[in-house]
């Protein structure tokens, strides 16, 4: 009788231990899921272009010009303006399409070179060689009241 009672006690202890263990196991499995679902946004939005004026004296007469677009008092954003031979203007974003470094323009070879991994683009932003797969982004340009505006994602 007493042995049976002792066995019962031990069984109860084992059972309780298992319950507590599985409780902590479940919690530790749930927590990473909560973490990920909290971090992942439900409906992320892409930002729209905001338009900024390009000052008249910054237009390139021929070839390419690096232009700082004034966003507010202290903030500037660098873009490339290219005057094509048929006298049309394109605005290129300086952000490399591979990982997002700023490309530089090399005047000797007439091409953009990314300092991070050596991606190269021609003067109109088309990929020549290197890791980037897409061409440099062409920023939208619009003309209103004889002024030229360029769209930036800020």
């Amino acid at each position: 009788m007493s042995i049976n009672k002792q066995l019962e006690k031990i069984n109860r202890r084992v059972f309780l231990k298992k319950v507590i263990k599985s409780f902590f196991l479940v919690i530790s499995l749930i927590l990473p899921f909560i973490w990920l679902t909290i971090l992942k946004p439900k409906n992320p939005k892409r930002r729209d272009f905001k338009f900024f004026e390009i000052p008249k004296d910054k237009y390139p007469k021929e070839g390419l010009k690096k232009v700082d677009i004034k966003i507010d008092e202290k903030k500037y954003f660098k873009i490339f303006l290219v005057n094509r031979n048929d006298n049309s203007l394109i605005a290129l974003s300086p952000v490399c399409t591979h990982l997002g470094c700023f490309v530089n323009f090399n005047r000797y070879n007439n091409e953009f070179i990314c300092p991070c991994h050596g991606g190269r683009y021609d003067i109109e932003g088309r990929v020549i060689t290197g890791p980037p797969k897409e061409n440099l982004q062409r920023l939208p340009v619009k003309i209103e009241n004889d002024k030229i505006y360029v769209g930036l994602i800020i």
């Binding site: 990920l36 971090l39 946004p41 992320p44 939005k45 930002r47 997002g100 470094c101 991070c116």
Partner: protein, 214 residues
């Protein structure tokens, strides 16, 4: 019985202290064994200066840069504390690298200390993440574009890259959401993980002892 003795007697800390500080160390260890301690001191410097910086820093898109300027120019001793935070972070990473080289060269990672090596590598990884998240917080051009490039690297993983990018940035672009979660990682998540891991690191050193020099 004066107040200090009373406190020590009631707190029962002395035996624990003795266990931590009065330990035998093997003969022939050199100053190269100090880098772990230097790294820990640098971590403490970072921790305490970070406590002070968090009093004045505001993790929002509009205020972050302004608050950094205020810390630099207006807050008393702000420039000094920010400098301490920056330089001790540099010292921390450099001394962790030297520490791991020392452990590697003296073959201290061998059994029974292999788990301690693993924990150390985890600490190193999270310290690097601390550096990465902390770099965004000034919210200037350099910080912004460094984070764009850094997170793009995670985004270039095939198939799951875009999901991972969303999880890290909280949006398609690096934005205010990214800033506030990086702030949370930098001041809450990663330091608490580091403290846990460091406790494990020191516990194992205490139990296993310092390895005999070759």
């Amino acid at each position: 019985m004066n107040i200090i003795d009373w406190f020590l007697d009631r707190f029962r800390l002395k035996t624990v202290h003795r266990g931590i500080f009065d330990r035998d160390i093997p003969e022939g260890i050199s100053y190269f064994y100090c880098f772990g301690g230097i790294a820990f001191s640098a971590f403490l410097f970072c921790f305490i200066s970070g406590l002070f910086l968090s009093l004045h820093y505001i993790p929002s898109e509009k205020e972050a840069y302004q608050s950094i300027l205020r810390i630099q120019e207006e807050v008393p001793l702000g420039k000094l504390i920010r400098g301490i935070h920056k330089w001790s972070a540099n010292v921390l990473i450099v001394s962790i690298i030297f520490h791991s080289i020392r452990v590697f060269v003296t073959k201290s990672y061998r059994p029974p200390r292999e788990l301690n090596w693993v924990v150390g590598v985890l600490v190193f990884l999270i310290i690097m993440l601390e550096g990465f998240t902390g770099y965004l917080l000034p919210w200037d051009q350099k910080a912004y574009w460094a984070t764009v490039v850094g997170t793009n690297i995670a985004g270039s993983i095939p198939f799951v890259g875009e999901t991972i990018l969303l999880i890290i940035r909280g949006n398609y672009e690096v934005s205010g959401v990214t800033l506030s979660r990086f702030y949370s990682f930098h001041v809450l998540w990663f330091p608490s993980i580091i403290i846990l891991l460091l406790w494990a690191h020191f516990h194992m050193i205490k139990k296993l002892g310092i390895s005999k020099p070759l």
